[in-house]
């Protein structure tokens, strides 16, 4: 009985004695288990499944679950390797004291078992506790119905048990395997292996710098985000490669450069810091680069998902010029002749009268749309746009023709045009040509109309648009000849009817009116695809279901990533601390005062900590123009809002980072100064 208890006792003591190492590890394990449980519990949560658009959120969560499981595997392996490296000495001692490898393995097994049980129990417990909170958060984000019933998802418990059972089993296997193949003396000595002086690799450092500059330049230069998605992807890869090179070689090269400057280097404040920095960067360059990339990912993710979420109302406003819009789309101009329009308008108004609610404002106009390809001074009807290579998208333009009468009426202007003349308003592009030539139609561009016609589609479309104001709709009759590869007419003639109730209408009433009018329009033309209709209220629900889920996932994943980054830094610093112990003891003997030591430590830890953060900030700043352009595709137009959110995300991240820095620097200092007593 006694003998049986010896191993668990040794294992417990081992964990307690090394609590500075084990507590963060345990916290990481518990955190990961908790996150996984919450993710899964949310994905299978009945309240999510019962809400409209909940499928979207559910899909995002399932994706997130996979990401977290994979990440947990990598992350826990990484942190565990720190632990086992530190523990090696202890195992070496056991082994010299006459314990065979089997027994050491048993201790390791017990330790793993303890860690596993604690992690899974605490993680699951906290997960169950917080899953309701997370559910409320999610339901709030997707604007779903909230209930306060407390639930436990057996399905999620099973899932978490299986996933983490496997992960912990793998971790244990590795530890035991490490013990099995090692030798006692090596175990004891494993930490005091001499290290060569870092050499600056100038070539790699330069390549890193060039890669990053090139990537930044690419990101800024991108005009049409969709066309340049491939390019941006390349830029991202360049940034990643560049960051690694810069942190691994560039930093050492930079230290060498500082060392070459004797006036700078041989100063009390710089001497020790700069020389140990070179080593530190050589050892930790890769880790810091990873943290930098991870942070950049988190920041971009947070900034874009929250922008989408908080900008949702804006985006919907962009898409919807009015609360409700009904747009008839026909090929035959006769379908929207004055008589037909009058008849349909009559039906719409009948619906209003029926419920005795009249809209505050009504906006209606006709326009025509065709997609063209710019080539020279010509605008070709686009028949093969889809086949065109991605890079060809740059020349694609959507043309919206509006008669000068409609334009004047809607915009309250008094423009006039002669036959064959046109005014253009380029949206997200420029147009400096004098003519528009398309099929048999020839137009003379006599100027630009500054105020764009409020056509929703020019903002929601991916491709740049050109609003062309023409004398009358007779002008574009020749375009009806143009057909695409399927032989279908390309010109699309539309009648837009949009109205606004102002603030004082209930959502259900507005939706009811909208549905009735939509049905009326559909039966009027006896066709299903002829009408593009939408209502802010119905759209908004969909929108929040989609982006609310995305936003929530962004937050959850960010929390995990930040947590991971922090733990990685903590471990790096702690293991550095153990290595620096002896070094600082020597310096103390040679005459370094405590305040000097503190200063030197601060400057080093500060650099190690904040270099990745600053670099991440720089990456974020240069990724911003692209992210902004991408967000515009989601109809986000509020630049100040997006900038605020991005800066806010960075500030919040930085603040969190600062707190962790304080804790870590304290722990590091305690380790280093504990050498004093020896």
């Amino acid at each position: 009985m006694k003998r049986f208890l010896l191993f668990p006792k040794l294992a417990c003591e081992g964990i307690l004695k090394n609590r500075r190492l084990y507590i963060p590890y345990l916290l990481s394990c518990i955190g990961m288990v908790m996150m996984s449980y919450i993710m899964h519990a949310l994905a299978v949560s009945p309240s999510l499944q019962h809400m409209p658009g909940g499928g979207n959120a559910e899909a995002f969560l399932s994706l997130g679950q996979l990401v977290i499981a994979l990440f947990a595997l990598l992350f826990l392996f990484y942190t565990n390797s720190f632990l086992s490296r530190r523990r090696c000495r202890e195992y070496g001692l056991y082994s010299i004291l006459g314990m065979d490898r089997r027994s050491i393995s048993r201790i390791v097994l017990w330790e793993s078992l303890i860690v596993t049980v604690i992690s899974i129990l605490c993680g699951m417990g906290l997960g169950i506790l917080f899953s309701k909170l997370a559910e409320l958060g999610l339901m709030n984000a997707v604007r779903g119905d909230i209930n306060y019933r407390f639930t436990v998802q057996p399905e999620a418990i099973r899932y978490t048990l299986i996933v983490y059972g496997i992960i912990f089993a793998l971790l244990t296997l590795r530890s035991v395997f490490n013990i099995r193949k090692s030798r006692p003396l090596e175990l004891l000595r494993s930490e005091s292996v001499g290290e060569k002086a870092p050499k600056a690799n100038w070539v790699l450092a330069m390549i890193g710098l060039i890669l990053i500059v090139l990537a930044y330049w690419t990101s800024i230069g991108i005009q049409t985000p969709l066309a340049a998605l491939v390019l941006f992807f390349i830029a991202v890869l360049m940034v990643i490669a560049g960051t690694y090179l810069l942190f691994m070689s560039g930093s050492v090269a930079f230290c060498k450069l500082l060392q070459a400057n004797k006036q700078y280097y041989y100063r009390k404040e710089h001497f020790v810091s700069v020389s140990s920095m070179a080593y530190r960067m050589k050892r930790n360059g890769a880790g810091l680069a990873s943290i930098c990339i991870l942070s950049t990912m988190v920041l971009v993710m947070i900034a874009s998902t929250s922008s989408l979420y908080f900008g949702a109302d804006d985006a919907i406003r962009t898409r919807f010029q009015a609360h409700t819009q009904l747009e008839v789309r026909r090929e035959d101009p006769d379908d929207i002749s004055d008589e037909k329009i009058a008849a349909l308008r009559g039906q719409y108004e009948q619906v209003f009268r029926h419920v005795d609610l009249m809209p505050e404002t009504v906006l209606e106009y006709r326009y025509a749309v065709i997609t063209g390809m710019m080539s020279g001074s010509d605008m070709k009807a686009d028949s093969n746009a889809i086949d065109a290579s991605i890079f060809g998208y740059d020349n694609l333009r959507m043309l919206c023709f509006v008669s000068v009468t409609d334009y004047n009426r809607v915009m309250h202007t008094q423009l006039s045009l002669n036959a064959g003349e046109a005014l253009v308003t380029p949206i997200r592009c420029t147009y400096d040509r004098q003519t528009i030539h398309m099929g048999d139609m020839q137009l003379q561009v006599i100027g630009q109309a500054e105020q764009p016609m409020p056509i929703g589609e020019v903002y929601t479309m991916v491709i740049p648009s050109l609003i062309v104001i023409i004398p009358d709709y007779e002008t574009i009759v020749p375009l009806q000849e143009l057909v695409d590869c399927n032989g279908d007419q390309m010109l699309d003639i539309r009648w837009y009817y949009g109205y606004d109730f102002g603030e004082h209408i209930s959502e259900t009433a507005a939706i009811a009116i909208f549905e009735a009018q939509k049905a009326a329009a559909l039966s009027f033309y006896e066709g299903g695809t002829a009408i593009d209709a939408g209502c802010v209220f119905t759209e908004r629900n969909d929108f929040y279901a989609t982006f609310g889920g995305l936003f929530f996932l962004g937050i959850l994943l960010s929390v995990v990533f930040i947590f991971a980054a922090v733990v990685i830094i903590y471990y790096t610093q702690i293991s550095e601390g153990y290595e620096d112990q002896k070094r600082f003891a020597i310096m103390r003997k040679v005459g370094m005062t405590d305040s000097d030591i503190r200063k030197s430590i601060n400057s080093q830890v500060l650099t190690v900590f904040f270099a990745p953060l600053l670099m991440a900030g720089l990456h974020l700043a240069f990724a911003f123009p692209f992210v902004w352009k991408l967000l515009q595709l989601f109809n986000l137009r509020n630049l100040p809002l997006v900038i605020c959110i991005t800066v806010g995300a960075f500030a919040a991240f930085g603040a969190l980072y600062g707190i962790i820095y304080k804790l870590t620097a304290g722990a590091y200092y305690r380790i280093v100064s504990s050498a004093e007593q020896t």
Partner: protein, 254 residues
Amino acid sequence: MTVLEVNHLQKVYATRFGGSKVEALKNVNFTVEEGEFVAIMGESGSGKTTLLNILAALDKPTSGNVLLKGKDFASIKEAEAAAFRRDHLGFVFQDFNLLDTFTLEDNIYLPLVLKGKSYAEMHDRLTPIAQRLGIASLLQKYPYEVSGGQKQRAAVARALITDPEIILADEPTGALDSRASDELLRLFGEINRGGQTILMVTHSVKAASVASRVLFIRDGEVFHQLYRGDLPNEQLYQKISDTLTMLQGGGIKE
């Protein structure tokens, strides 16, 4: 002129809760004159290390005092101890205590950099010392690239460069092979003839035999001392050996 004066030094170590007490130093008295080369000998546990730690201002005595050129160690505040060591004492350790992140040159500069000297001045000081110690060609190397003897010579250079009142050497030959030991001891003799005061703790008879005076410590007290007088190293070696044999026999008392 007296450089170092040690009066009635006592050091008692108590276990944490004041249980059993160990008296590492009972009553140590001696003085070191300027230009002397004193060796302190004693077996493990005799209190050598405790004495050296107190002399290095790394530890405080329970009672008694240490005066360096008349200045009482007790008047040095904890926070100033490091600066005091740096400015007045030079150290040579058994395990060299060189920083592996610095070249030998930078290791030697360390105390001066901490003192805030300019590079030009440090460089001027180093050149003759490096020349004399025969490490001028090794200055750009890192500690792991050179031999133990060379490391110890760099450590000696680091101790010398601050021009200290006294050099404290703790088993300087302990980690060296016999050839490197001989070379280092020859250097110590040479440095001492140049006017440098040296206090060396050792249990190597050979190391002690280059000193001008040898103190023997046993059970926390100075038990005996030998003056070189005009004796050559070999004869002093013989005398030290004889003394040690007698000491171990538990014999003479002054």
